[in-house]
């Protein structure tokens, strides 16, 4: 197939920043690099990387395109889904625009139904993600991983070899290890960096497309921060140590991290999609069946779309101890049913099993609630 190489018609109306990111993507496309757009940490990146594709995250986090999305979608729907759909419709996101194939998974109800409409004007392929982690579910998901490989091969008219997949698994494991080593810096007390800065690196790393060199870059950054910390360990004063969990919090919802840190807390670890949730587990490189190894690793992600969801508690349990966490803040997006329902279970676990305070805040990508968020975070931190 021919990959998409032209800029969109609306390009000239864009601001400088947006033009720049479009041109960066444009240049990659001129080198014949296909783009595979994805929404979720469940997407087995190694498969697309094995055919030389660039894997781009399409989860959008700005309320700019929500009015456009609400022409088609209900207003009372998660802002991430609306924002993403809106960017797809308006050609305002370079990654959406240049995606030669978009891969979704049957994760939450809102997303999987949105993909049906998205598929009417974009090339969409939806993987069937089971909603439990049973042996039967793993069997289905392993088949889905192989089906995805076959879809990529037929759609892009390429062959994906097992060796190439295995090589990408090693590269991605290195990236996961490097990111984990990076955020582990915040096990130190006082912290060597602010949570908001740590988050920028974690989130930003998903938009670094040269994955082979990414681990090295992150490692160098980790060493630099480590060295600075040894020279000046008291750059940041001691403060209550907060774990942030819940929905994806890039973009508009980053205001929650800022509200915590502006009001006297430090976010020391993220149990979110761009944090520990997607770095903690590696793919077993030594499994003779590399597809089974990939399926096993991705299915074990502790997202609230799973029922039951024991791996989220297992990870939280470990992070709370390892990072000497004083309190947990859960950030959920409005109308994200699975995370919102799960807040009760997480609260019970954190209060009763771990014996520390917990607070949940439900938010969206607007700035309407910044005053209230500040009051809540300040009151929560005063309580510690």
């Amino acid at each position: 197939m021919e990959i998409k190489k032209e800029l969109p018609e609306v390009f000239n109306d864009f601001g400088e920043m947006r033009k720049k990111s479009f041109l960066a993507a444009y240049e990659m496309k001129q080198k014949n690099i296909p783009f595979v757009g994805t929404f979720c940490t469940y997407f087995p990146q190694e498969l697309a990387m094995a055919m030389g594709a660039c894997v781009v995250g399409l989860c959008s986090t700005s309320d700019e395109t929500i009015p456009e999305a609400e022409k088609d979608l209900p207003r009372n729907l998660c802002p991430l889904i609306k924002s993403s759909y809106g960017f797809a419709k308006t050609d305002k996101c370079p990654y959406f625009y240049f995606s030669d194939l978009i891969v979704g998974e049957t994760t939450c109800d809102g997303k999987k139904k949105m993909y049906e409409y998205l598929g009417q004007f974009k090339p969409v392929y939806t993987m069937e993600l089971p909603n439990s982690q049973s042996p039967v579910a793993l069997e289905l998901w392993t088949k889905e991983v192989i089906k995805l490989k076959e879809k990529l091969e037929s759609h892009f008219e390429v062959t994906i070899t097992d060796e190439a997949v295995r090589e990408q698994v090693k590269i991605m494991n290195n990236v996961r290890r490097a990111l984990k080593e990076f955020y582990s810096l915040c096990k130190n007390e006082p912290v060597p960096m602010l949570g908001q800065d740590m988050f920028k690196i974690l989130y930003g790393s998903t938009y670094k497309f040269d994955k082979a060199n990414l681990a090295g870059e992150i490692h160098a950054l980790t060493e630099k921060i480590q060295k600075e910390y040894e020279e000046n360990p008291n750059k940041y004063p001691k403060a209550p140590r907060i774990l942030v969990t819940g929905c994806p919090i890039g973009g508009g919802a980053e205001k929650c991290i800022k509200a915590i840190e502006d009001n006297g807390g430090h976010v020391v670890v993220f149990e979110n999609c761009s944090g520990a949730k997607s770095c903690d587990r590696e793919v077993d490189e030594n499994n003779p069946d590399i597809y089974a190894a990939i399926a096993e690793r991705y299915l074990s992600i502790g997202c609230s779309v799973m029922t039951p969801n024991p791996n989220r508690l297992e990870l939280l349990d470990r992070l709370i101890d390892e990072y000497k966490v004083d309190a947990v803040v859960e950030v959920t997006l409005q109308a994200c049913h699975t995370y919102n329902v799960e807040t009760l279970g997480i609260k019970r676990f954190v209060n009763e099993k771990k014996g520390i305070p917990y607070m949940a805040v439900e938010t969206d990508y607007s700035t309407a609630d910044i005053g209230q968020l500040n009051t809540r975070m300040a009151a929560f931190i005063e309580m510690l």
């Binding site: 305070p357 209230q372 009051t375 809540r376 009151a379 005063e382």
Partner: protein
């Protein structure tokens, strides 16, 4: 030595002076469109040379230049309510633009809290809007609803409840029955909300509505836990701020 606490709320600005044992003076002003003016005006009314420390709280807490410290209304309400009645273990506050429930431990420290903030339903604003439609002054509410039968008001939304009431009025419904229905509606909603916390001990009811017996007794009926108020309920946040300020000064002197 005195300490001053000022609570800059969305509807009213309250202040209290504390001498270490009792509240010696309070003052209240409506919060104007310029809340900085209101909080500064209240400061000027209450401040005297014996005041050693000033704590501001409430939505406008950052606006008082003379404040020594800003503390959120959650912490201040809890402290103020516990000062007014040390037997309580939870606070329900119905404010002008939000509603909060706070849980205390036996040491009267805040252990958990929830706030509603997305909507005017369940806040003082809801009742204000409804009373305006009924053309009744809220200050006479206890007498106004006495002996009436509550009508069922089902709309959760302030705007929809307004149209529900307009259509009840059009059908010739009794205004006292409607008003009691509104009170039931807000108290029922508040009790569902507060029960999200593990309430067990007695409750202190604060905020501007706490001065009306009908709200206290209705809320108690839904919560099935003793609900207390105080003549100073509306000042709970300001009192808490003053008490916290006093403890701060004392601690640094020791």
């Amino acid at each position: 030595m005195l300490t001053l606490g000022i609570d800059s709320g969305s509807t009213t600005t309250k202040g209290a002076l504390f001498d270490g044992e009792k509240i010696v003076r309070t003052a209240i002003l409506p919060t104007s469109a310029n809340p900085k003016d209101s909080i500064t005006k209240l400061y000027d009314i209450l401040y005297n040379q014996d005041v050693a420390y000033t704590v501001s709280t409430g939505y406008g807490r950052a606006l008082l230049d003379q404040a020594d410290k800003q503390i959120t209304e959650i912490t201040c309400h809890a402290r103020g309510a516990a000062f007014l009645n040390p037997s309580i273990r939870a606070i329900v506050d119905i404010g002008g633009q939000d509603c909060k429930a706070i849980l205390l431990d036996n040491g009267l420290n805040v252990v958990d809290f929830i706030m509603n903030d997305k909507c005017a339903a369940g806040t003082g604003r809801f009742i204000e809007v409804m009373m305006r439609i009924l053309e009744e002054d809220i200050s006479n509410i206890d007498q106004f609803v006495e002996g009436h039968q509550p009508m069922n008001i089902t709309s959760m939304c302030t705007v929809f409840a307004e149209s529900e009431i307009v259509s009840l009025l059009a059908k010739g419904a009794d205004k006292g029955d409607i008003a009691l229905g509104i009170i039931n509606s807000i108290c029922r909603r508040t009790s569902f909300f507060a029960q999200k916390l593990n309430l067990s001990g007695d409750i202190f009811f604060s905020g501007g509505l706490a001065k009306f017996e009908i709200f206290r007794s209705t809320l108690e009926g839904y919560l099935k836990i003793p609900v207390h108020t105080s003549p100073l309920s509306q000042y709970a946040g300001a009192i808490g701020a003053a008490v916290i300020g006093y403890n701060k000064v004392n601690r640094t002197q020791i």
